[in-house]
């Protein structure tokens, strides 16, 4: 069987699991059935996808008699979709494994079980779709399934609002994609991707389609300023679904963008890379500043997704520019950097959400200000979460560093751009990327340090229990992959050659043949990196130092109360909190992204009332772009409200008028 057929069979299996989940959700074994089934199917699909990625799968499109009459639905996998299938199904496998244990604590299983496999099926279908109709249908299916999961705990806090904003933004994104496909389908005369690729729309139309794709796919991926729904919706879902939405679904959106812009929209214009680079750098910087200001652990992670999507878009934008100006080697480097970051981010963001979920189920808390000291009670979760934090902060020898390093190497090739705009934009983007990488390290220092280190801030937290074994296994798998990709980046880069070939018509030189498993994106004299050696060096010199000192100096150890400059305070409230940790950074960078209102009420000496610090942050982008929009809609709604109270005569005349106008338009249509 071909890869397409296998994928569709897997999707059918997932959909039947969804039906089974809906019918049996109240039974005690339903969770095991749905998550176990999803685990098996996703793992099989993962094998199929890896096979297609490594050994090529440019099969004939599979046409099924579904959807529009006489047209059918086309499905096909190529290396690009195979790569994203790997990302989706790896995340899905890990999330299903995690869900097997985590899902048991779910109090409303009927609100989660039917939609989980449906969501997985939706994401898989988007990737194998080979015509606009199947693509959009699967896209919308994916959105709605994830919306249902966001609304699973609809009674809690702000979740209803999150679901509402998500639904609006998802519909808006799909509308933009619909228009983009409509523009591309018109010159092709068909909805099939093959026809669009062959037709090659005129430049103006292609440019418009590009902008619509940027908006449509970008709203799902969460680029600034279309990110507003993401930090509301992703944390609202159950944690394994949050992991899928943040780690995986945003990547499906990146796939949609890559598919349209690099593959379907024909030859690109040079200016295309300008908006992509701008939103990429903006998302990277604003995303991490937003994340730094959060003290809700899951929301922090969700905001940080915006940063990583920005890094991916920087890679894609550079690749577009290099491709247009005929620099295929540089284009393949930039694209590979972006795609590798897609993979890396899916690994560590899923891992981190799993850790946050374990903390949530062990303590019932998402607010970091009420956590602390969990490294003592949840050592396994703490260790894997730490691995995720190091990886996402782009520190060697983990995987996040490799993709950012490749992105920097691509930026260093950009002085060769003939265009002045790009020549000035590229170093600015590089500086913003460097700034966001450094802020990301601060952000995850805070996330790990406040949540897992220090002393427990509440009684409940000090009694937390370690996560179950399946959840730990899921985290262990992802953490191991983070390290493996970090120390053997050459193998990961080589796996991406076919995908890069499709998008930019070139691929990076084979890395696995370089001695000692180093990577050298351009030439070894120019830059090279060997994650394995760096890892071994660090491990070796750390153990050398430790054993030397223990052997020749002293190995004695005494436990004692903390020193704290002589005035230790037993109250855990005297520790640094998440807000206080971020205070210096908020003071320097906060006003870039937020309107910060800080009110300090300090009693005079002698007064006995407590001091107060009130901190209000409001998102500038929400205030500038969305509030006016909401006001306009509200005003218009009030105006249109009059239409509800007309007499029957007035209604009839309105209908008549509408009919006349429509007929006139129809008659004058060329």
């Amino acid at each position: 069987m071909s890869a397409e057929a296998l994928c569709l069979a897997g999707d059918a299996a997932l959909l039947s699991l969804a039906v089974a989940g809906a019918l049996l959700s109240r039974r005690p074994f339903a969770g095991t059935l749905v998550y176990g089934g999803s685990l098996v199917v996703s793992a099989l699909l993962l094998v199929v996808a890896i096979d297609a990625l490594l050994f090529g799968a440019r099969g004939e499109p599979l046409v099924l008699p579904l959807g529009l009459p006489w047209i059918g639905a086309h499905f096909r996998t190529d290396a690009m979709s195979a790569f994203f299938l790997v990302v989706v199904n790896l995340g899905a496998t890990a999330a299903s494994l995690y869900g097997l244990g985590y899902g048991r604590a779910e109090h409303d299983p009927e609100r989660v079980l039917p939609f989980f496999p449906a969501f997985l099926a939706g994401m898989n279908l988007v990737l194998v779709a080979d015509d606009a109709y199947a693509f959009l249908l699967s896209w919308e299916f994916m959105s709605l399934a994830s919306w249902a999961l966001v609304m699973a705990h609809h009674r809690e806090g702000q979740n209803t609002r999150a679901g509402y904003v998500y639904l609006l933004m998802a519909s808006f994104g799909t509308l933009a994609l619909l228009l983009a496909f409509a523009l591309l389908a018109r010159p092709a005369g068909s909805y099939a991707f093959d026809a669009m690729r062959a037709a090659g729309p005129p430049p103006g139309v292609a440019g418009l389609a590009f902008l619509l794709a940027l908006i449509g796919a970008g709203s799902k991926a969460g680029i600034v300023p279309l990110h507003v729904w993401l930090p509301l919706a992703h944390p609202a879902a159950p944690s394994h679904v949050s992991a899928l939405m943040s780690g995986v679904m945003t990547k499906v959106a990146v796939y949609g963008f890559v598919r349209i812009v690099f593959d379907l929209a024909g030859p690109a214009s040079w200016w295309w890379s300008v908006p992509v680079l701008t939103v990429g750098a903006g998302s990277a910087l604003l995303g991490v500043i937003y994340a730094l200001m959060q003290h809700d652990l899951k929301r922090l992670l969700a905001y940080h997704t915006v940063e990583n999507i920005g890094i991916i878009y920087i890679g894609l934008g550079l690749a577009l520019g290099f491709k247009v100006f005929g620099m295929p080697a540089a284009a393949s480097l930039a694209l590979t950097a972006g795609l590798l970051h897609v993979f890396n981010h899916s690994l560590f963001k899923s891992l981190l959400f799993f850790g946050a979920g374990a903390v949530l189920s062990a303590t019932g808390e998402r607010d970091m200000e009420r956590l602390g000291g969990l490294i003592h009670t949840m050592p396994g979760t703490a260790f894997f979460f730490l691995v995720g934090c190091v990886a996402i902060s782009a520190l060697p020898p983990f995987n996040g560093f490799v993709s950012e390093w490749l992105t920097f190497q691509a930026i260093l090739l950009s002085p060769a751009f003939p265009s002045w705009v790009l020549k000035i934009l590229a170093p600015a983007v590089g500086a913003m990327l460097a700034l966001s990488a450094a802020l990301a390290a601060a952000c995850f220092c805070k996330a790990f340090g406040i949540t897992f280190l220090g002393r427990p801030r509440t009684e409940a937290v000090s009694r937390a229990r370690e996560a179950d074994r399946l959840a730990l296994a899921a985290m262990a798998i992802l953490a191991t992959l983070c390290l493996l990709v970090g120390v053997l980046p050459g193998l990961a880069i080589d796996a991406l050659t076919q995908a890069a070939q499709i998008a930019v018509g070139a691929h990076m030189p084979t890395q696995s043949s370089i001695a000692w498993l180093s990577i050298a994106p351009v030439a070894e004299s120019r830059s090279s990196y060997n994650g394995l050696l760096v890892f071994l060096f660090i491990a070796l010199s750390a153990s050398l130092a430790a054993s030397f000192i223990h052997r020749f100096a002293s190995a004695a150890l005494r436990r004692a109360p903390a020193w704290d400059c002589g005035f230790p305070d037993p109250s855990p409230a005297t520790q640094y909190s998440a807000v206080s940790f971020a205070q210096p950074i908020r003071r320097v960078f906060g006003s870039v992204a937020f309107v910060v209102e800080e009110r300090i009420d300090m009693p005079r000496p002698g007064e006995m009332r407590p001091a107060h610090l009130d901190l209000k942050l409001s998102d500038r982008i929400w205030n500038v772009f969305y509030m006016p929009l909401i006001l306009i809609v509200e005003r218009a709604a009030v105006q249109f409200n009059r239409l509800q109270f007309l007499s029957i005569r007035q209604y009839l005349s309105v209908v008549f008028g509408a009919l006349v106008i429509l007929l006139v338009v129809l008659a004058s249509w060329p």
Partner: protein, 317 residues
């Protein structure tokens, strides 16, 4: 191969051997300039040995991470220092990582040290970590944009290649290099917690950053962290030396005599830089914490301007 390995190991031993001496020189200079006699030059070695022999006292609330971090910080700094060409370029492992990796390794060391500051759960530790996070968030991108400039001039991000290019004298005088040098010095001051950013000699709670982070450490753990800090200072000065003052640097495949000469020249330059640092620190006052972002931000802007100049001037040729 064996010879290369020997020289690589020699380089690693050399940096670790002279790093405490460098700190001793800085302290002695500052003492003399303030009309004190000051401790002898070997005092930092004695301090390290004394600390290492004492029993380590670890707070009750500390986790395994607290005891693990000193060695990790030391290892990351040492590996980074091993990659800097001090007396010869083209050392055995120099191709395994480039300048960006060196910065990232130091970033990893900072990350873990900041975590250790939060581990015990005291207010001082958090204070140090939080401020270190802010300074790092500004200094690291400044360093990266400086790397952009150097990489564009030398056509490589490999520090060994950059140093060899600079030593060959082809680069000449450039505005960008001047900007990069000033920016690099500011970053080096900030990253090593020197005056005017932080005061390594203080224990006044409101003025300290690095010392607040490591307040709970004692005994061998403190010795390892102190050594890592000395190593980091030596690393930054070596970095500045090998890029901006590469005279005497033995280029790859040089004879053994050249390399020995290179080592001597390196130690002399390093100690001279130590004296200069002592003079600079004595002649300037410490800044308030929230003036530091402006100071380090200036480095970021200078580095960025330098890089931008290069990006744009590529077409003018």
């Amino acid at each position: 191969m064996i010879v290369d390995l020997v020289f690589q190991l020699l380089q690693m031993t050399l940096v670790i051997a002279v790093a405490p001496l460098l700190t001793g020189v800085v302290r002695a200079t500052k003492a003399r300039l303030t009309r004190r006699r000051g401790p002898p030059l070997v005092q930092p070695y004695r301090d390290l040995v004394r600390l290492a022999r004492k029993e380590a006292i670890v707070a009750d609330s500390a986790s395994w991470l607290f005891r693990f971090v000193p060695y990790l910080v030391f290892a990351a700094t040492w590996v980074a220092a091993a990659l800097v060409p001090t007396f010869a370029t083209g050392l055995l492992f120099s191709w395994s990582a480039d300048l960006i990796v060196i910065i990232a390794l130091l970033g990893a060391a900072r990350f873990f040290l900041a975590l250790a500051g939060l581990d015990v759960g005291t207010s001082f530790g958090g204070l140090g970590s939080s401020r270190e996070a802010l300074f790092g968030a500004l200094a690291e991108p400044a360093m990266i944009v400086i790397v952009f400039s150097l990489a564009l001039i030398a056509g490589s991000t490999q520090l060994s290649t950059v140093a060899a290019y600079m030593a060959s004298g082809v680069a000449g005088l450039r505005v960008t290099l001047g900007m990069a040098l000033v920016a690099l010095i500011i970053v080096a001051l900030a990253e090593n917690g020197r005056i005017p950013v932080d005061n390594p000699a203080t224990h006044l709670e409101l003025t300290m950053v690095h010392e607040a982070m490591i307040l709970e450490y004692s005994g061998r753990h403190l010795a390892v962290i102190e050594l890592a800090a000395m190593l980091k200072l030596a690393l930054y000065i070596s970095l500045i030396i090998c890029v901006f003052v590469p005279w005497g640097l033995a280029i790859a495949d040089a004879s053994v005599a050249d390399r020995i000469f290179g080592a001597i020249a390196y130690v002399v330059k390093l100690l001279a830089a130590g004296v200069a640092l002592g003079v600079f620190e004595t002649s300037i006052a410490k800044m308030r914490v929230f003036r530091v972002p402006d100071f380090v931000g200036a480095a970021l802007m200078l580095g960025f301007l330098g890089a931008l100049l290069l990006f744009v001037s590529r077409t003018l040729k």
